[in-house]
Amino acid sequence: MASKNELKITDVSLNDDAKKLGLRVSLQNPGDRTLHMYATVRAIRYDAATKTLEVQLSDRGLRDVRPNSTFLHPKFTAIDPNSETTLELTLPRTIARLKQGQRLIAPVVEELPVHEAKNIDVEIAYSGTPFYRDQRPKSGKSPRQVMTDWAEGLAKYRKRLGKH
């Protein structure tokens, strides 16, 4: 009897080459079934107070901001049964977002120094089956909901970073 599908993150490392950050995620599939997982970063958050960087390769909890031009599906990759692999991702050294406010005349952009992160949280959505888009005209779910429902599990990993 096959064990429950479980993707494990065994390590993460962050390399700063002064232009971009290289995130290397080491993964393990201890089960006897190929697992399919996100290969696209869907969200990055940085808490300057705790210097914690969150890198999310899932659609969990993300807001459906609408209207928009397209719902972009993530890219996927697969990990063989009983094997290990690494996911190489490129992150910006800083992230930009709008400062919160109310009815400002002009928006103000704030920049967050992601490269100063001392802690990192990584989350990856995975499933035992590949993702196929829903062909039903009336599924009753938003595309984001379809994505979150696809995920059979979320592999999570937290690490205190050394000097990078």
Partner: protein
């Protein structure tokens, strides 16, 4: 006063917003309108308070230019400052408040939205072409579920300006939609977007579809077939994809059926691909003895159950398919028998095909125990293998058509019934029954037989619907 661009002159904007890119895209929307002797064309005022106001005295008669003219020269009254719409040209590092990456997308935020700190309608769109990867959407007329059509940044901006126009004008449509179907508001913006595509000489986007992908790609399908045929675009894979996406997965029961099928199929199929990678002979066996029969039999099932071909026409269709699949036609008796043995999970005869024993063991352990795999793959291939044997025995085509039709009817009524049947509303239940009548259960007898199984699986109030519809 109406349309403005955020500059990078203040705060942390430098290097994070790209007003020049927005200007270029707006200029493209104006159809490079530099004016004529009478009209000044596209222009801009000097930056003020981190905003650049766009000016436009139009000399171009095109639809995008006319829309831009309206956006620039209308006082929509969104706020007392007269700054109705602000556009931010984002880079690949731009995120919304929840961390969602702006790369590859555009959003239009009404006043009061949690992500909009201004008193204006705010457009944020990616000017980095998804960090160089590009964005692709569905092309009008493509029914194969692939994203092949590029979405340049000027098209994204024009799309968002459609939303901005209607938000500023106070007449946005509903955003309610499910799956990848475009909501009424998105459908309108995508229809508008196609005007910009016309101006750029690009094909139209399918305005009913709102999904896309990073980079142009094909919808994945059927990994064993893709590997065995050598391409995800091969005729075999295209025909399997068409049956899957064009017919079956569009219904509730088809969608749920495939969810169950995938659960089992992907439990063994990647390993089959690994075996094929190590043995070209095995790859050839799977391509000729499994994939080719499956492709042919699905075409024949469709001809019988949807197109309702009679016995003679079905026999002729079988012959026509064989003439296209010469390798199938040339299979020897022992080659056909090996396929039959593999499908049955019976002990293998002596064979010199490398890794065929491993394949047999894998299929025996993980594939053939699945009712979904059996019904979807094994039984259809077996039916075609039977027909090949009849053909070798010189049975006439009319008789082969008759036997195949009978086999299809016997097979169709054995479709596994998944739990989703119990969750359907009465209305949807009727729709699904009608779907089965059109696609799978072509005779009254087959409906009654399948209906009996369904009645046994459904609660009484739903069983009545089935009994009444199929006069059981």
């Amino acid at each position: 006063m109406s349309l403005f661009i955020t500059t990078d002159t203040g705060g942390a904007g430098a290097g994070n917003v790209f007003p020049m890119n927005v200007e270029v895209d707006l200029f493209s929307i104006s159809h490079a309108d530099l004016g004529d002797g009478t009209h000044a064309g596209f222009g801009e005022d000097p930056p003020n308070n981190n905003l650049i106001q766009i000016t436009y005295d139009r000399s171009d008669g095109g639809i995008p230019a006319t829309r831009l003219d309206t956006l620039v020269n209308t006082n929509f009254g969104v706020n007392a400052n007269g700054i109705d719409i602000i556009v931010i040209g984002a880079g690949a590092n731009f995120t919304l408040l929840d961390g969602t990456m702006a790369a590859g997308n555009g959003v239009t935020l009404p006043v009061g939205d949690a992500d909009n700190p201004t008193g204006s309608v705010l457009v944020i769109y990616d000017t980095s072409d998804n960090n160089g990867t590009g964005i692709c959407v569905r092309k009008q007329g493509d029914g194969d579920g692939t994203y092949k059509l590029e979405e340049p940044s000027s098209v994204i901006l024009y799309h968002e300006l459609s939303h901005a126009f209607h938000l500023a004008n106070g007449d946005p449509l509903s955003l309610s939609a499910s799956g990848c179907t475009a909501s009424p508001e998105e459908n309108r913006a995508e229809t508008d977007e196609n005007d910009m595509r016309d101006q750029l000489g690009l094909p139209h986007r399918d305005a009913t579809d709102h999904c896309g992908s990073a980079g142009c790609q094909s919808s994945s399908c059927c990994i064993v077939a893709s590997v065995a045929s050598g391409s995800i675009y091969s005729d075999a894979v295209n025909s399997l994809r068409e049956v899957r996406d064009g017919i079956l997965r569009g219904s509730e029961i088809g969608h749920d059926f495939f969810n169950h099928f995938y659960q089992d199929y992907y439990g063994f199929s990647p390993e089959v691909c690994r075996l094929m990678a190590r043995s070209p002979e095995l790859l050839n066996l799977i391509r000729v003895r499994f994939l080719a029969p499956l492709t042919v039999v699905l075409d024949l099932i469709r001809a019988h159950s949807i197109d309702r071909l009679d016995d003679e026409a079905l026999g002729l269709r079988f012959a026509a398919n064989l003439s296209k699949e010469s390798e199938l036609l040339n299979l020897t008796h022992s080659e056909i028998e090996l396929a039959r043995v593999l499908l049955a999970g019976a002990p293998l005869p002596d064979t010199d095909i490398p890794l065929v024993t491993e394949l047999a063991n894998l299929l025996g352990e993980r594939a053939w125990s699945s009712t979904f795999v059996k019904w979807t793959l094994v039984e259809p291939i077996k039916m075609l293998v039977d027909a090949l044997s009849w053909h070798r025995e010189n049975v006439n085509l009319n008789e082969i058509g008759k036997r195949l039709g009978a086999s299809f009817d016997q097979w169709s009524v054995q479709m596994p019934i998944t739990p989703v049947w119990n969750t359907l509303s009465m209305y949807t239940l009727n729709e699904e029954l009608e779907f089965l009548e059109r696609t799978l259960l072509s005779t009254e007898e087959s409906r009654r037989f399948f209906g009996k199984r369904l009645v046994a699986a459904l609660p009484a109030e739903k069983a009545v619907v089935v009994s009444a519809r199929w006069r059981m």
